[in-house]
């Protein structure tokens, strides 16, 4: 570490770190010498990246393939209104370079996959998992275990957050527990809350992502006791915290990267295609007064935000209310983006052999974008 020097400008910038006795110049040098890969620059990634950049991590990698959406701004504080539609990783890098010109920021504007995971992880010392889905979480975990990297983990749902430090090097040369020791398998897709049932208090990733950043800094500097072998839980609604023990599971075996979509029970889209209709075609049907039924499978609160006048049958009730769906004319089913309505059609086809159902491609979002911009998006 002694070959890494801090310039006078850096010494001034990091003065409040250097003033902490157990941190000192040595701790700051360790941060400068460290390479951290942050996977996901969304809710968790925003505070993570902001604090890690501000703290002076020498090389900060950002993996994200997504673009900024207006609905991100409620919690993803890296981005502004002007950034909507722009790639997240590039936009984040631009913001962080203004925050700290002393650090090297690498943009990986790509999806984190089984094909590139090991290559990406190998370029860094520590990984911070700020992703938002089970397949990527297991992939991040397994890649870290195979590459021998510490995985600083956090996850959020509504008012609740989890934090842990996985695969941390222990004094005896072994590694601490990893995500699969805690949760050997993911829930099947049917038991995972869908996008409308999900949701998150905007400030929650700010709290949890900041704790994650703190653990990254502790792992790098060796200051304090990292959260290895423990799982931190926070419930903002009741303001309760718990720290639970996590043990290694002798049955855990990670030998290679696998197909994580398959592992999580997610079938490729092409195998489960349903008949579709474009928003432009639906507009034509409406204009010419065609006889068809329009069903909206979103939740009531979403209907209140924006609707196309369809009959509201939330996805969770579609099977029991199938009798309300007409079998003698074409039926267009829609949701916000087209995902839940496709699930509804598959369920109705499977349970009741409907053959007259059409999924509105892109949902009410596409309608708002292409047909009627007065329809609010959310």
């Amino acid at each position: 570490m002694s070959d890494i020097q801090l310039s006078p400008s850096e010494m001034a910038r990091y003065a409040r770190h250097i003033a902490i006795p157990e941190f000192n110049v040595e701790g700051q040098r360790k941060l400068k010498g460290a390479k951290v890969l942050v996977i996901g620059s969304g809710g968790l990634g925003s505070p993570l990246l902001l604090y890690l950049a501000a703290a002076g991590i020498g090389r900060l990698g950002i993996v994200d393939f997504d673009v900024v959406d207006e609905s991100n701004l409620q919690r993803q504080v890296l981005f502004t209104v002007d950034d909507v539609g722009k790639p997240k990783a590039d936009t984040a890098a631009e913001r962080l370079r203004k925050l700290n010109p002393h650090i090297d920021i690498r943009v990986h504007n790509t999806r984190f996959t089984s094909e590139n995971a090991l290559d990406l992880v190998a370029q860094y010392d520590v990984v911070a998992d700020g992703t938002d889905n089970f397949p990527t979480r297991y992939l991040v975990n397994d890649a870290c275990v195979l590459a021998g990297k510490t995985n600083v983990y956090a996850s959020i749902f509504r008012f609740e957050g989890q934090v842990s430090v996985f695969n941390y090097p222990l004094e005896d040369g072994s590694r601490g527990p990893n995500y699969r020791d805690l949760f050997p398998e993911p829930p099947p897709p049917g038991l995972v809350p869908n996008c409308a049932e999900g949701g998150v208090l905007g400030v929650l990733p700010g709290i949890i992502g900041s704790l994650q950043a703190s653990e990254v800094i502790k792992v790098i500097t060796g200051v304090g006791d990292p959260l290895t072998g423990r799982l931190f839980l926070f419930d903002a609604a009741s303001f309760t915290t718990r720290i639970l023990k996590v043990a290694k599971n002798p049955a855990t075996r990670i030998e290679e990267l696998i197909d994580y979509e398959l592992f999580c029970g997610i079938q490729p889209d092409e195998e489960i295609a349903v008949p579709e209709i474009q928003v432009s075609e639906l507009k034509t049907w409406i204009d010419r007064g065609a006889d068809f039924q329009l069903i909206d499978v979103r939740e009531a609160y979403e209907y209140d935000i924006a609707n196309l006048g369809g009959t509201l049958i939330p996805l969770g009730t579609i099977a029991e209310r199938a009798k309300q769906i007409d079998r003698n004319k074409k039926v267009v089913i829609h949701c916000r983006s087209g995902k839940r309505s496709a699930d509804a059609i598959r369920e109705l086809q499977h349970l009741y052999q409907f053959d007259n159902l059409y999924n509105l491609k892109g949902g009410i979002l596409a309608w708002s974008k292409e047909i009627d911009q007065s329809v609010p998006t959310y």
Partner: protein, 92 residues
């Protein structure tokens, strides 16, 4: 009575209640009482053989029941049982 803390993703099956009081004397009895009263929870907590699902951990205090006597672990009047599910974030 012992208390079970219900995590956010499962509260839709408990009429939004965040805790459940139980007189069960073991973890198994406590979970049975919970799933009998809130039947929708059953498939989320238990597999077809009535074992705790692999994406759910059950804790007594800060100890995983797998490090104790699993679902035979004794429950006292002041025991706090936590159900801890895997959560991934916002996307599906």
């Amino acid at each position: 009575m012992a208390k079970i803390i219900i995590p956010t993703p499962l509260r839709k099956f408990t009429d939004n209640q965040s805790t459940f009081e139980t007189s069960g004397r073991t973890v198994r009895e406590a979970i049975q009482e919970l799933t009998t009263q809130h039947q929708g929870l059953s498939q989320h907590l238990l597999d077809v053989n009535d074992n705790i699902r692999s994406f759910i951990r059950i804790y007594i205090g800060d100890e995983d029941i797998n490090a104790l006597q699993k679902d035979a672990t004794a429950v006292e009047a002041d025991t706090v049982i936590s159900i801890v599910p895997a959560i991934a974030g916002g996307a599906i």
